[in-house]
């Protein structure tokens, strides 16, 4: 039988360390886009709680401990992912969910990166137009937005700690853009 070796989206591209900031790859486990059918939002949230212990996230929010999941802990979390859609991460979706929502496997579709360290917020301020002030974008807040020229999902995990998702095929551009912004911030003495 043929043996196919898997390759992660950011393999060979990270880690990148500039100053006190690092960009690393995160394994969020199984990723499933969950899009509730008409009028099934509440039922979905209940089923999600029953099966995975988390509620469906409101727009711009996450449920579950995303930071722990991003650190490799085996637990499920959900990241709001667009109009009436969220991304279930770190769990094989319970088959019961399928009656409430369209489920699509996205495990291989996204490059998942984490930028951490003093200056990370300033780095993102060079790449994304969203308001990253602590009061406006708190821990557990998430946004679908732009990162330089790419569509991205950005989630705040901590003060200077973010989860970034872009299309898998854009992994190289992500690393290039983030590295350049990191260098600029570090040179100013900001990171």
């Amino acid at each position: 039988m043929v043996e196919l070796a898997p390759k992660s989206p950011l393999a060979g591209l990270v880690p990148v360390t500039v100053g006190r900031m690092t960009l690393t790859e995160v394994d969020l486990g199984r990723l499933t886009s969950v899009a509730p059918y008409r009028g099934r939002d509440e039922g979905l949230s209940e089923a999600l709680k029953a099966a995975h212990g988390i509620a469906a996230p409101e727009p711009g929010r996450v449920t579950g401990r995303v930071a722990a999941r991003a650190s490799g802990r085996d637990e499920a979390c959900a990241i709001w992912f667009g109009q009436r859609m969220f991304l279930l991460a770190g769990a094989d979706p319970d088959p019961a969910l399928a009656q409430y929502a369209a489920l699509s496997d996205q495990s291989d579709g996204w490059a998942c990166a984490r930028i951490q360290g003093r200056g990370a917020t300033q780095v993102l301020a060079r790449l994304t137009p969203i308001d990253l002030r602590p009061a406006a974008f708190r821990r557990g807040h998430t946004a679908r937005t732009e990162l330089q020229h790419m569509a991205a999902s950005i989630t705040r995990l901590g003060e200077d700690d973010y989860l970034i998702l872009v299309f898998r095929a854009l992994a190289g551009t992500l690393v290039q853009d983030v590295r350049q912004a990191m260098q600029g911030v570090a040179a100013r003495g900001g990171g």
Binding site: L4, S8, A101, Q106, D108, R133, Q176, Q180, G184
Partner: protein, 976 residues
């Protein structure tokens, strides 16, 4: 020269620099302008048109004369204002617009010919002969007139962009701005205070004014320290707010300090987009010159600038200084000069009723009428009530009053209001939503009024933000009255400059009026006043006052020209940060990218994707060799190509079938699970939008495939149809393009290759043409589709993208022993042309289903988007250009895409065009060129001959019209 004094420059560190190759020394804290003045350098530039020697005139970003170039090659930056350029070790600045040197400039001959060079000269003179304009006159004029130049090399300057968000943006950090920021900051609002200077304080850094009993600059430093220590405040120095835009967004250009910009990886500039809920404009004012003969001589400076050089940089611009003004600032200037020990040769006050308490020769009611000394001022002539006098002076400090910096308030089409009492334009309230002006920018001239105005503006903003303003003490400061008697130009002979940067004089503006360019906007364009890098900051009001006088109107009636962003020059590099080279667009790479590149495949762009063009084999030196080999390889053995770039949309829900029936011309609700169908999608206007195959994976789940180019377009279309047209339908869709790596395996040996790889082989009985289903490869769950874009037996195998690279490697390695291998886009294109399969070359947006021969696919049994519009007269029938196949049958054996088709005997002109070729390639399978194209009534013309003419390449070929499917017409090879 440097003088003693208590300016903050003190006994700064010595810094070596060069100007035009000559070495000088300055002090830390100097600008290039202050350092050059300290070294006695008076000529710093040449004027735009007449090449007149020019010295520094101001001490800020409005400087019109002292423009220099730094850097070489890719690091060259022209037109930097010496007044803003921070001195740093090794700075090598060069003067501009002179040849051979700054002190001896041959083109200064233009100055002697000035009587001929007035406004409109070029329009009137270089009219004939007509062809000479582009080839002779324009290059000549451009060479003679100009500013600094770019090197021509691609820029290596590193620039970044950034966003910032705040509750209150304070523009300008003078007394008003600092008080506004302090008030808002103490109320807990997020504050950004931006100032273009290297240190906050505004005019306080240049004056001897006291605030709260201490020197103004010390007070400013104290407030700045408090602000900098607060978490909710960001103090941005060296940052010019350049534009006001919709939604409370402001553009701002930050110049990094030279020592920071010199660090590895550091940008030189940063272009900010600041989003603010409210804004306070405390940008101060710009002092305006007075027009008199030869008022552009080096040494004639703005009085406020002279005070800045004396008080801040401890530099005297001359051994003896004459002061000329029409307001009380002239007296302040004299007092500061005397205190610094500089000899003042005269105080010329244009106000007849002025009195003077200072111990200097005083000339009330007098005006300066001329300046003497070509490369440096030597003396000025003055007109007094008792006659003309000549006074020796190396510097003339002049003040014609102040123009509040209203520019940003005009960026959203606002117009400023004229205030007669201060002879200046002031911002019209509400001109920019959410922005209020404060301090001098609003027309409040005393320091005390500025401090108060800042607090008041902040209070207004805080109320709007729903915050309570704290009690705040207004510091004590001078509260003198601004007393001005306007003078715009002094009568007399000789040229009196208005726009120093563009060499526009009083005479030019009068000429414009005389030639009936009476509107201020027409005058501006006729004379070029205000069109230089300073955008008329120094000349705008004077020029329109002269125009008002010449046309017998009031200033308010004459109005002002339009201020547009940016407030200061901003390089294109700063505005388009990140868009250079590969930064222009992200690179979307397939999982097989690295292996393809390693095999020497040239990559071509398809949207954001990169796809292999062909895979050169040893000994192949031309792409055609590789392409022909790859085509025959697929026809005779097996080929592998990455098709992951095609859009894949997962559509689920009880109404999924209904959605597909609506968006596709043909029917999908009848498709059985496990089967695939080709679908054609129309736009609302009846033309073809896209095509592709859609598989039914389950009762309520379809997987739609789009073309690479239209993946985003189709996704958007589906969302539109669902959200806007049929929100009642229960259907959800999401892109899964990135999740799957998909490879086409095509050729007679494709089943053999596939079955060697799959965990369980597939048999034709279970896997007929257009079937699909799950399979397993090395234990990995995969999807298999039996479809073909080559016309051969073909499969597409999709695996989760993490296995894409490994699968591609495996497929290629196993194909080669079978006489197969990878194939690229060129071969893929030839294979589909042979089969008459369409791409966006054919469905280019102007073709209908009828045109491409698929009219029958538009289902009669149901409605679909585009069906009604496609039935409009003119979109089908004999007069339409219809898809045909073409092959050359004359002596020329080549077909060219883009060429037009004509009747054999007809002249090849557009009126006679019968159609055009959309795709053409050499078919190694058939041994000749093949084309696809559109020909009027083409389907009825199979077997006829037409003439192909490519006017661009000069190729003419006789072709025979035939069926678009030119190979294996019954599809036996494909169906197996």
């Amino acid at each position: 020269m440097r003088i003693g004094g208590e300016g903050p420059i003190g006994r700064g560190r010595r810094i070596g620099f060069t100007f035009d190759g000559r070495a000088y020394q300055g002090l830390a804290g100097d600008t290039l302008a202050s350092a050059l003045l300290a070294n006695g350098v008076r000529v710093m530039g040449r004027s735009f048109k007449y090449h007149r020697p020019r010295g520094v005139m101001t001490a800020g970003s409005e400087e019109p004369n002292a423009l220099v170039t730094v850097g070489r090659g890719g690091l060259q930056e022209p037109n930097l204002r010496a007044t803003q350029l921070e001195l740093h070790e090794g700075l090598a600045a060069r003067s501009q617009n002179r040849w051979p040197s700054l002190t001896f400039d041959i083109l200064a001959l233009n100055d002697l010919a000035s009587p001929f060079f007035g406004a409109g000269f070029y329009y009137k003179t270089f009219m004939w002969p007509r062809a000479f304009w582009e080839r002779v006159y324009e290059p000549m004029i451009r060479r003679a007139a100009g500013l600094g130049a770019l090197s021509g090399a691609p820029s290596d300057l590193r620039v970044e962009k950034a966003w910032a968000h705040c509750d209150l943006l304070v523009i300008g950090a003078g007394p008003a701005g600092l008080m506004a920021a302090l008030t808002a900051a103490r109320a807990g609002a997020d504050v950004i205070i931006a100032d273009e200077d290297t240190r906050p304080g505004g005019r306080l850094n240049a004056e001897t004014i006291e605030v709260d009993g201490v020197p103004g600059r010390d007070w400013a430093a104290e407030i700045t320290a408090e602000l900098s220590g607060m978490d909710n405040v960001r103090v941005m120095t060296r940052t010019t707010v350049t534009g006001a835009y919709d939604g409370g967004t402001y553009g701002a250009l930050e110049r990094l300090a030279p020592e920071v910009a010199a660090r590895p990886g550091a940008p030189r500039e940063c272009f900010w987009r600041i989003v603010a809920r409210r804004a306070v404009l405390a940008a101060g004012a710009l002092e305006r010159p007075i027009a008199f003969a030869n008022n552009d001589r080096p040494g004639v400076m703005m009085a406020g600038a002279v005070r800045a050089y004396v008080n801040r940089w401890c530099v005297s611009p001359g051994r003896s200084v004459a002061v000329f003004g029409n307001n009380s600032d002239a007296h302040r200037t004299v007092a500061d000069l005397l205190a610094a020990g500089v000899h003042v040769s005269a105080l010329i006050d244009a106000r007849h009723d002025a009195t003077c308490s200072l111990d200097v020769p005083f000339y009330p009611g007098a005006q300066v009428s001329n300046a003497h000394g070509r490369c440096g001022l030597e003396a000025v002539s003055i007109l007094t009530p008792s006659g003309e006098e000549k006074i020796e002076a190396e510097c003339l400090a002049m003040s014609g009053g102040w123009n509040p910096s209203v520019h940003l308030t005009c960026h959203m089409n606002g117009r400023p209001d004229w205030r007669e009492d201060i002879a200046a334009f002031v911002p019209r309230p509400g001109a920019v939503p959410g922005l209020v002006a404060a301090g001098v920018a609003r027309g409040d001239f005393s320091t005390r009024a500025c401090l108060q105005g800042g607090v008041a503006a902040a209070r207004e903003a805080l109320t709007a933000l729903g915050r309570t303003a704290p009690e705040i003490d207004i510091p004590g400061a001078e509260d003198s009255r601004y007393d001005i008697t306007p003078i715009w130009s002094v009568p007399g002979r000789g040229r009196a400059w208005l726009d120093f940067q563009n060499d526009v004089t009083v005479k030019d503006v009068r000429l414009a009026a005389q030639e009936n360019f009476r509107s201020v906007e027409h005058m501006k364009r006729y004379t070029t006043q205000g069109m230089a890098p300073d955008q008329g900051k120094n000349s705008n009001v004077n020029a329109l006052a002269v125009l008002a006088d010449a046309t017998g109107r009031a200033i308010a009636e004459t109005g002002t020209t339009t201020f547009r962003p940016p407030y200061v020059p901003v390089s294109i590099a700063a505005m388009g940060v990140g868009g250079r080279g590969k930064g222009f667009a992200p690179q979307r790479l397939t999982t097989s990218h690295e292996l393809s590149v390693a095999r020497g495949a040239p990559m071509i762009e398809a949207g954001l994707w990169y796809r292999p063009s062909y895979f050169p084999a040893p000994g192949e030196s031309h792409w055609r060799q590789s392409c022909d080999r790859e085509v025959l390889m697929v026809r005779n053995a097996v080929g592998v190509t990455d098709v992951s770039t095609l859009g894949k949309i997962d559509i689920q829900g009880p109404d999924a079938a209904a959605l597909l029936d609506l968006v596709y011309a043909n029917t999908f609700s009848t498709l059985k699970p496990g089967r695939v169908r080709y679908g054609l999608m129309l736009r609302e206007d009846g033309h073809v939008m896209d095509d592709g195959t859609t598989a039914r994976l389950g009762e309520n789940q379809y997987l739609m495939t789009t073309t690479t180019a239209a993946a985003g377009l189709v996704m958007r279309h589906l969302e539109f149809v669902h959200q806007c047209l049929r929100p009642d339908w229960d259907v959800r869709m999401v892109s899964v393009t990135e999740n799957w790596a998909q490879f086409a395996i095509a050729g007679p040996k494709s089943a053999e290759l596939l079955n060697g790889l799959l965990d369980a082989p597939v048999a034709d009985a279970d896997w007929p043409f257009m079937s699909c289903g799950p399979v397993s490869v090395g234990g990995v769950g995969a999807r298999l589709f039996r479809i073909s874009f080559s016309g051969e037996r073909g499969y597409e195998l999709a695996v989760p993208a993490r296995y894409g690279e490994a699968l591609f490697r495996e497929l290629v390695a196993r194909a080669e022993p079978l006489g197969g291998g990878p194939y690229g886009m060129e071969a893929l294109n030839v294979l589909r042309i042979e089969k008459g399969f369409i791409t966006h070359a054919e469905i280019h947006g102007r073709t209908t289903a009828f045109d491409i021969g698929m009219g029958g696919m538009v289902s009669k049994a149901k409605d679909c988007i585009g069906k009604a519009a496609a039935a409009r007269p003119g979109l089908s029938g004999e007069e339409r250009e219809q898809l045909v196949g073409l092959k050359p049958v004359g002596t020329v054996k080549m077909l060219v895409p883009g060429a037009h088709l004509f009747e054999e005997g007809a002249e090849a002109v557009s009126d006679n065009s019968q159609g055009y070729i959309t795709s053409a390639a050499f078919s190694p399978t058939l041994g000749h060129f093949l084309g696809l194209g559109f020909l009027r009534n083409g389907r009825a013309r199979h077997g006829q001959r037409v003439r192909m003419v490519d006017h661009l390449k000069g190729v003419v070929a006789i072709c025979e019209v035939q069926d678009p499917v030119q190979y294996d017409r019954d599809g036996g090879r494909m169906r197996g």
